[in-house]
């Protein structure tokens, strides 16, 4: 079965990638200044106290021993304990995953819903106002700093006009859906639709501004890629043949030209989605969105290595999964690869 073999091969490669990421982090620890104990012990701690804390955290052993222990631990699913918090790194990191995924997907949806029609319009109406407008919008979108947009949105839309909450994520999508599908002692609890709708509204209202902030760069990039892709596709001979068949222009644009344009865009989309998992630091900070990005930055600032390693494992796995999904989607969209 081609798909089975494909997934197996990519799965193994995925494990290698994640292993590569963890090993890279350990290598970097050789040269990274700053000692985690500085943040666990008080600044004026005595040398013995520092030594004790270092021993307790296992930092007194040489790095390769720590590496070996870490990998063995990993195999047992144990990501070690956060230096600063004393709790399992895995619980801290995994608690952040839903928020990150929600924001990344929301930003992508915002981008796709806005960018693709915009790209198509500016491609089909070249050198008309729509084209100039879309081009300038996408260029400004690409070069707007995230935090600037975020803070301005909060100041204007939330504080001045009170249209949106300023920040925070009171409820996750998962909990909202759970209202519908909770199973209590074996049998499905009665669906609490009211709570679900209420939860959904709160979630949507809170994710709106962060998704737009994070999605803007994304939107601009996809608009430009869609535009240049569409221009190229509309120039292909099969489009003229389709017109010869009398097909309506919108069908030609969306079903024929756009689908072929999207094939290369899907890979870029996948990669961008990947970077959003660990990369949405600034948006998460501005909107107090408990995602992986801020966790990584805060852990790096205090050299909390188990948390850094845990986050990178999750980010790496996310990357691998998205890449596999993107390649599979690429094959589905592009028959020449599979058939």
């Amino acid at each position: 079965m081609a798909l089975g073999r494909f997934l197996l091969k990519r799965g193994i490669q995925g494990v290698l990638v994640v292993w590569g990421v963890v090993t890279a982090v350990f290598l970097l620890r050789f040269i990274t200044p700053g000692d985690p104990v500085t943040f666990v012990a008080p600044l004026d701690a005595s040398a013995e106290l520092r030594a004790q804390i270092a021993a307790e955290l296992g930092l007194d052993q040489p790095l390769y021993v720590q590496y070996a222990d870490y990998i063995v631990g990993l195999l047992r699913g144990d990501m070690g304990y956060s230096y600063l918090r004393g709790t399992e790194a895995s619980t801290i990191v995994l608690a952040r995953v839903p928020a990150t995924v929600e924001l990344a997907v929301a930003a992508t949806v915002v981008a796709v819903v806005i960018a693709i029609p915009l790209g198509v319009i500016s491609a089909t109406r070249r050198r008309e106002p729509a084209d100039y407008g879309a081009t300038l919008f996408s260029l400004v979108g690409i070069s707007t700093p995230n935090f600037w947009l975020g803070i301005m949105l909060i100041l204007v839309l939330s504080v001045n006009f009170g249209l949106f909450p300023t920040s925070r994520r009171p409820i996750g999508l998962f909990e909202t859906v759970a209202f519908l599908v909770t199973v209590e002692n074996g049998l499905a609890a009665p669906m609490d639709v009211g709570a679900f709708l209420d939860g959904m509204r709160t979630w949507l209202w809170h994710i709106a501004l962060p998704a737009v902030t994070l999605g803007t760069y994304f939107t601009a990039l996809i608009t430009r890629l869609t535009r240049s892709g569409m221009i190229e596709e509309l120039g292909q001979p099969y489009v003229r043949a389709a017109r010869a068949k009398g097909l309506p222009e919108s069908l030609i644009q969306y079903k024929h030209a756009l689908q072929n344009t999207l094939i290369p865009i899907v890979t870029v989309l996948g990669l961008q989605l990947g970077t959003l998992i660990g990369g949405a630091v600034i948006t998460e900070a501005v909107f107090s969105w408990p995602g992986l990005g801020t966790l990584v930055i805060n852990s790096i600032n205090v050299r909390d290595w188990p948390l850094i390693q845990g986050s990178l494992i999750v980010i790496g796995t996310g990357f691998v999964l998205i890449n596999i999904f993107v390649d599979a989607l690429y094959a589905y969209l592009n028959p020449r690869v599979v058939h």
């Binding site: 693709i116 029609p117 198509v120 292909q236 001979p237 099969y238 003229r240 043949a241 389709a242 017109r243 010869a244 068949k245 009398g246 097909l247 309506p248 222009e249 919108s250 069908l251 969306y254 079903k255 024929h256 756009l258 689908q259 072929n260 094939i263 969209l333 592009n334 028959p335 020449r336 058939h339």
Partner: protein
């Protein structure tokens, strides 16, 4: 034989950076119902653009600047008479006066077109069956409610496409048009059409795909099929099969065909009437016998002269010296465009020749139709070295024979 199509003084021009290119220049011809009109000429003679102009597929920077295309369609005439009386003459309707939307509605139903390279004429990521079914679907929806062009172009937006992406890709096409597609594939002689319909273009051979393209063109049961070099990209044996298929389809479906090619052999085999095009103009037209057996225009003779005759295998071929002009309006001389390459160029040729009638239906745009050639009136070469010679074209004016691009009358795939 009633006429299906009467083209009067059709001109199509391209407004590019290099200047205005007169691709088609006051072309007139008629297509009889149920007959095959061969349009022949070297590449760059404007024959493809003529084809495209017929079904209104000339894209920017090209535009049809003048001329009328009278299409014999009784109920269309009746329908159009209401709001555009001047566009109707008896059963004939001048397509140029119709709105773009109405012209588009004729594409696929009244006229359809097939192209030279089948592989690039199909969307690589959609199955062949689906693409043919699409053509059928457009017609089905059109016939379902002829009134509104809107229904035919009923919106297919992003939402629909996303839905399409999720559902199997038959959502635009109905079950019925899918069956029609399979039936068409069978009609054009493609073995086990149901399975082949599920396959993608790159899984078809060149010949098979050309058949599929023909099937697609027949989806709307058109009155006229424009075929632009349909066989050029195929090897000889397949070419013959395709020509037979075209001939057979043409009879069974009472369909007229405009066959555009540079290959005289193909014309000889299939065409009932012939139009010879040179530099955007129809220099000679008439029945196959008129043009092939009794050619008047030196260019037609030159073309025929460069075709090996099976009966006289040893005969030396006579190539036509010089090159086709580059049709840039500023460079076009105000005389017979062929004069500088014409062995029988005379002073009379220095003015634009009208179209003389040689015999009933046989016309030629050359003075020789009226008078005999006489040495006395011959025109020395340098006088003819008009603007065409120093044009930006690759030729440097010298007419060394070996340089001439003899029309490859050979039936060979290039």
């Amino acid at each position: 034989m009633t006429d299906l199509l009467r083209v009067r003084d059709l001109s199509t021009r391209f407004f590019t950076e290099e200047g205005q290119i007169n691709a088609v220049e006051n072309v007139s011809f008629t297509v009889e119902a149920g007959s095959v009109l061969g349009v022949v000429g070297e590449s760059g003679s404007g024959k493809s653009v003529t084809g495209l102009s017929l079904i209104d597929l000339v894209e920017s920077p090209g535009k049809i600047t003048s001329g009328e295309i009278w299409y014999n369609n009784a109920d269309l005439a009746e329908r159009v008479e209401g709001d555009q009386p001047e566009a109707v003459d008896g059963d004939f309707v001048d397509l140029r006066r119709l709105s773009a939307a109405e012209r588009r509605s004729l594409r696929g139903s009244a006229f359809s077109m097939i192209f030279q390279d089948p592989m690039s004429s199909f969307n690589p990521s959609i199955t062949v069956g689906e693409q043919i079914a699409e053509a059928a679907e457009v017609q089905r929806r059109a016939s379902a409610n002829p009134r509104s062009t809107r229904s035919r172009t009923q919106g297919y937006g992003l939402g629909k496409m996303l839905l399409d992406g999720v559902l199997p890709d038959r959502s635009y096409t109905s079950e019925e048009s899918w069956d029609r597609a399979v039936e068409l594939l069978e009609r054009v002689g493609i073995p086990d059409p149901a399975e082949r319909a599920e396959e993608y273009p790159h899984q078809f051979s060149g010949g098979m795909l050309q058949r599929a393209m023909i099937a697609q063109a027949l989806a709307g049961d058109p009155d006229l099929l424009v075929a632009d070099e349909p066989t050029t990209a195929l090897d000889v044996t397949i070419q013959a099969q395709i020509l037979d298929l075209l001939a057979d389809l043409q009879e069974t479906m009472e369909m007229s065909v405009v066959l555009i090619t540079h290959n005289l052999g193909v014309i000889a085999r299939v065409a009932d009437r012939v139009s010879v095009m040179y530099a955007g103009e129809v220099v000679e037209r008439g029945t196959l016998r008129d043009v092939f057996d009794d050619p008047v225009h030196p260019y037609t003779k030159g073309l025929l002269g460069s075709v090996p005759d099976i009966d006289q295998p040893g005969e030396r071929l006579e190539p036509i010296p010089g090159n086709v002009p580059d049709l840039v309006d500023a460079n076009m001389p105000d005389r017979c465009y062929f004069a500088d390459r014409c062995p029988k160029a005379m002073t009379d040729c220095l003015t634009r020749p009208p179209e003389y009638e040689v015999s009933d239906g046989h016309r030629a745009r050359c003075v020789l139709a009226e008078r005999e050639y006489s040495e006395a009136d011959a025109v020395p070469d340098e006088r003819l070295a008009g603007p065409t010679d120093d044009g930006a074209g690759p030729n440097d004016g010298s007419r060394a024979p070996d340089e001439s691009t003899a029309p490859d009358a050979e039936v060979s795939d290039d």
